[in-house]
């Protein structure tokens, strides 16, 4: 982490500057009370007097020294910034320390008392942002993170992108020595830029570079407000080091802190809601497809109301826990096949809900597309994504023509839609709707039995099957108020298929941008929020994901964040294992395995990483490698006892690939 430290030259310069400034200040303090009349007569010059410019250079206080001196004397600007931050009730501040925000760092822990927010020591900016990401999905409250200007924000960038794609607010503040004439030379210059926000501008909702304290207070409250208005998203503020360090200046009025008033989320147009209700009420087989429709637990309840009103099957794409998996209307993605009306809510990819793509090497290698729905199926969309797009990143996916599109927040629109559907259902449709529900109950029971029989396959296999991994874990936590804080779907989605997910905090969705490295830090962030709510946090931790920034394990131990991490250690970047095999097959070649199980460049074996030792070295209780399924249950019992005592625990489990 040398890139965060000033080099020796800079330290020496700053040290000397400090010494000179202190001496100057002492001298000034001593001399100041003496009046001109009491001063002794000047000595006769022994040489020609210096020019005015020369005298000023030799006897005047250089500007940077004046800054230093004034900073010592006045109220630091960064203290006011802490007042602004405190006004918003931000509880934690995960961050990797850096010189470009040393002033606000000092104010936070000394002036601010290191509370609201509490500084959490992170070992990578990506971890800090992902922790904030996971924290929000449990608490509904955004966190602030501080990043070093260029290199720190570059580290943070992937996690910011995940938050953007996952519609999660994170307040990212980057320290920056903007004034090129006065910034320290050397490393601080490498770590500064004219516009550091440009690094993340394509995937943040808004950014600003405040140039005064009043500007800062307005920018910060505005950033918070924008981030927290659906569609949520990360925001960035470039914070000048000089502005942090300088004392507060009175420009005729003391800076004020604007009051935060939440903005009401956008609702669907009344006419469009009515038309959607008419189509749904008249449909023979309506289907509801949701991805991030439920922003809160209340959203889950609203979706249940709508689904039951229509007895419509619900496909939960898994961006959040939108709909209880135990509900008989919970259905697999194939439910779109016979639909005549489909309403999509906050779908990140409507196209893929109603179309298929097969990566089969056909059509010059680009694969084959096909429709999954009848040609006359009516499509309705309620999505706030339409309100928040950028040109460079295409996370809105392929273009899908929709009959009734609404640029609106789904959860905010649901109450009006439910009322409109109630009014639109004709009496003569009610028995048909009820019959639809009875048929759905039968299908649900059949699907459930099929899924459980599929889970029984390879039950006693070693490496341990992913279904066994997931159910052994569930067996040990089922009586707790549990929260699955991360699982990237690499375990064949068994938790979503087998666990009775009903509450909003049972499932948090995935990373958003599929930037690998999200799982471990987001789990720690979510576990932090769950800790404060008295819940038990569990993650299915992938091996490749953990190795991007394993330092977050230390952060969890350091800050006593209880989390059970059950590893899905399949010893490879398995998605890529399959990709290279696929391409080799398309080209009629045998992949070069290089002595590993997967193609060269995709395996994580020889040497096998001892994740349990890695975790132990950072203060976790850990055990492994567990290869025998019979040993998993007892190990889980031990680990859970540790987590219940307030510490994190990790089990390194060797698993089947998927």
């Amino acid at each position: 982490m040398d890139h965060k430290k000033s080099n020796t030259k800079v330290d020496r310069r700053q040290f000397l500057t400090g010494v000179i400034a202190a001496s100057a200040a002492t001298a000034a303090n001593t001399i100041a009370p003496v009046s001109a009349a009491d001063a002794p007569a000047p000595r006769a010059p022994s040489a020609l007097p210096p020019s005015a410019k020369g005298a000023a250079a030799e006897t005047g206080t250089p500007r940077d020294l004046a800054r230093e001196s004034a900073r010592v004397k006045g109220i630091p600007g960064s203290d006011f910034m802490v007042d602004v931050i405190k006004s918003l009730g931000i509880k934690y501040l995960p961050s990797n320390c850096a010189s470009s925000f040393r002033a606000i760092h000092e104010s936070l822990i000394n002036y601010g008392g290191n509370t609201m927010p509490e500084y959490l020591t992170c070992m990578h900016e990506e971890s800090a942002v992902a922790m904030a990401h996971g924290y929000f999905k449990i608490s509904g409250k955004p966190l602030l993170t501080l990043c070093h200007g260029t290199v720190g924000l570059q580290h943070a960038a992937m996690a910011v992108y995940n938050a953007w794609c996952d519609r999660v607010p994170v307040i990212v503040v980057g320290g920056n020595d903007l004034d090129a004439a006065y910034r320290p030379p050397g490393v601080p210059t490498f770590h500064s830029a004219q516009d550091i926000n440009a690094i993340v501008r394509d995937y943040t909702k808004w950014d600003d570079t405040p140039v005064s304290l009043q500007h800062f207070s307005q920018s910060f409250v505005r950033a918070y407000k924008i981030a927290m208005t659906p569609p949520y998203g990360p925001v960035a503020i470039s914070l000048d080091a000089g502005l942090q360090q300088e004392p507060m200046r009175d420009h005729g009025a003391k800076p004020y802190i604007p009051r935060y008033v939440p903005t009401a989320p956008p609702q669907g147009d009344t006419g469009a809601v009515k038309e959607a209700a008419r189509l749904l009420a008249q449909a023979q087989n309506p289907v509801i497809a949701v991805d991030r429709a439920a922003r809160t637990a209340a959203g889950v309840g609203l979706l249940v109301q709508l689904a039951e009103l229509l007895q419509a099957k619900v496909i939960d794409m898994g961006g959040r826990m939108n709909f209880p998996k135990t509900h008989y209307l919970s259905s697999p993605p194939t439910a779109v096949n016979g639909a005549d009306v489909i309403i999509g809510m906050e779908l990140s990819d409507f196209w893929a809900v109603v179309n298929s793509f097969t990566d089969n090497g056909e059509h010059g290698g680009i694969g084959a597309n096909g429709t999954r729905i009848k040609p006359d199926t009516k499509l309705i969309s309620i999505s706030s994504i339409d309100l928040n797009t950028k040109a460079n990143y295409q996370d809105f996916q392929r273009f899908q023509v929709v009959d009734v599109p609404m640029a609106a927040d789904a959860e905010a629109t649901l109450p009006a839609l439910i009322e409109a559907v109630k009014a639109a259902i004709p009496n003569d449709r009610k028995s048909a709707i009820a019959a639809r529900g009875e048929a759905a109950k039968k299908t649900y029971a059949e699907n459930k039995a099929r899924t459980r029989q599929a889970a029984a396959l390879a039950w006693d296999a070693s490496p341990i099957s992913t279904a066994r991994l997931v159910m052994e874990t569930y067996g040990q936590i089922k009586d707790l108020d549990w929260s699955l804080v991360a699982s990237e779907g690499n375990v064949s989605n068994w938790p979503n298929r087998l666990w009775p997910m009903e509450k909003y905090h049972h499932w948090l969705g995935r990373s958003g941008g599929y930037g690998v490295g999200y799982g471990a830090p987001a789990s720690v962030g979510a576990a932090l929020a769950n800790r404060d709510l008295g819940r038990f946090s569990v993650s299915i931790q992938s091996d490749g994901d953990l190795m991007y920034a394993p330092g977050v394990l230390w952060t969890a131990a350091k800050h006593k964040i209880p989390l059970l991490a059950v590893m899905h250690n399949n010893r490879g970047y398995h998605q890529e294992v399959m990709h290279i095999q696929r391409l080799s097959n398309f080209r009629n070649r045998v992949p070069n395995l290089g002595g590993d199980m997967g193609p060269v460049g995709t395996s994580i074996e020889r040497p096998d990483i001892e994740y349990h030792k890695l975790a132990e070295s950072m203060g976790w209780w850990a055990k492994g490698p567990i290869k025998d399924p019979a040993q998993l249950g007892p190990a889980l019992k031990e680990a859970i006892a540790v987590v219940k005592s307030g510490q994190p625990a990790l089990l390194n489990v060797w698993t089947q690939p998927r």
Binding site: A456, P500, Q656
Partner: protein, 117 residues
Amino acid sequence: MKMFKLRFFVSTAFAAVALLSIEVMAVDAANGKAGYVKHGCWQCHGFVGQGGIAGPKLAPEPMPLAAMNVFLRNTKGAMPPYMEAVLSNDDLADIHAYLLSIPKAADYKSIPLLNLP
């Protein structure tokens, strides 16, 4: 589309005829297990053919060898093709023998963890 269908039919027919002899070949399930790993079948279908999100189950009760051969050489779906130059008929027969040797899974109703509410 017609051309494609005709081509598929012809290649399928040839493959089926060729495989009449494979059915009676000596097969080695142990070799098949090694081949199953070497040729990457485990990647999508798991080490004991249980399947998962990336590929359907292959065992127990795999499809007949002849059908598997035809499918592997001609697939246009999510499964990438395995041509004979990559996976010989002999190796495929061994792999099929390995899949046949995998015992049937227990009824989920006999596994307490799969009966939790």
